[in-house]
Symmetry: none
Subunit: 136 residues, 4 copies
């Protein structure tokens, strides 16, 4: 039995992400998806570039789809490595750089968080701020 992410908790988590993005002075897109990879909540902070929207979605999707942080796959998909090309192996793009995190209920993945807009370190810090609210 998996639980869904309630919308009020999702919005609370989005607000925590907005606060972290403001603290880090990043204009970012913040996405939360459910265990099926489908959008639960989203906000684009300070009119972030619209090209970040879908990357945020796809980071969250990747984390839910493969049940691991998006950056987990970076080395293994490189040319010459064992999963070369995995990020383009399905119809929807997977993202292999950081900023996507799974959401857990115990040790069951029930969703994903994705952030895009700043340097990877900032995206990851904001994603953790969102996931921390959802993982409790």
């Amino acid at each position: 039995m998996t639980k869904h992410i309630p919308h009020d908790l999702a919005l609370e988590a989005i607000n925590a992400g907005v606060a972290k993005a403001k603290e880090l002075k990043q204009r970012s897109s913040l996405s939360i998806v459910d265990g099926g990879g489908h959008l639960v909540a989203f906000v684009r902070v300070d009119d972030a570039a619209f090209g970040t929207i879908e990357i945020a979605h796809n980071k969250a999707f990747t984390a839910a789809a493969l049940r691991a942080p998006s950056g987990h796959w970076m080395e293994t998909v490189q040319p010459g490595a064992s999963l070369f090309g995995m990020e383009r192996a399905a119809s929807r793009p997977l993202v292999v750089f950081g900023g996507g995190l799974p959401v857990y209920d115990g040790d069951v993945v029930i969703g994903g968080v994705g952030v895009s807009g700043g340097p990877i370190e900032a995206d990851e810090a904001i994603a953790h701020a969102i996931a921390d609210v959802l993982n409790r």
Copy 2:
């Protein structure tokens, strides 16, 4: 000269939409897009069916893309009418039933709202609750 929709106002509008959805007991997807049709904020209320996500997006997109409520086109795209097939005349589907509304800055369209999940009347009532916050 057009303005963008600030993220805090967008989230306030989303919250007004959530309140209206709860009042009407509708599990719905609520989307806000900017003047280019790109997502600004979103929430899915009470684990609404995931099939409603993209319909909400496309209602908001349609309202921004054609600068009219989505339901405005219902009659003219019917068999025998002057714009038959317009809802499928571009690569992204346009939605011609109600629940999509333009967002205005004076008389300039600066975005769109889309709601999907309930009967059209409920979708439209929730969309108006969201747009009322954005149009002030």
Copy 3:
């Protein structure tokens, strides 16, 4: 042997279309494609709604692809008629309402014109203003 549409003639034709759109007070998208249906020239007049861009392209494409005005097919694609559904019978949408016109070199079709943004009569008048420059 078909001829291509020179870019300076295409821009002259676009300017004629802009003048007609201004005269009719229509905010419209104006497209010209070659004999292969590929874009030659385009302009969006007075910040016309962005939803009209692709419809203009697809009207021009339809005129070149089927070598007839886009509105030619309106009756035969209706429910119960002989080509029902033809407008969705290929991967790219065909448009069956007016505003798309073939471009001729003698009696050979060497391109198409598409206009979207106003009532069908205005779209057609602007399309004729463009085609008149190209058809000489």
Copy 4:
């Protein structure tokens, strides 16, 4: 507050691009998009190969979507670099080689320019000729 690009200025900029393309003897596609990535004006010079059309569009789109020249991302998306795969991380391809430039109103990005058809240096020179008209 952002401004849109007027159609007459867009066509003036396109003409400057045509002149530069002729000077450099390049058969090229020239695209201008608005701040939402939607086409404002286009011309294909001297029957340039039709495969250049969409690349020009996508360069302009990339510059608007990420608010940076298309070539800005070339190093960071390489194998082993921090944003590996970003050019395919959304449904619409981003272009990471040169020829796409943002259009500015002050320091706000209000559009993009994309040129495709020649060597990168020529594409960039033509893109600058277009952007110089739009950025004033």
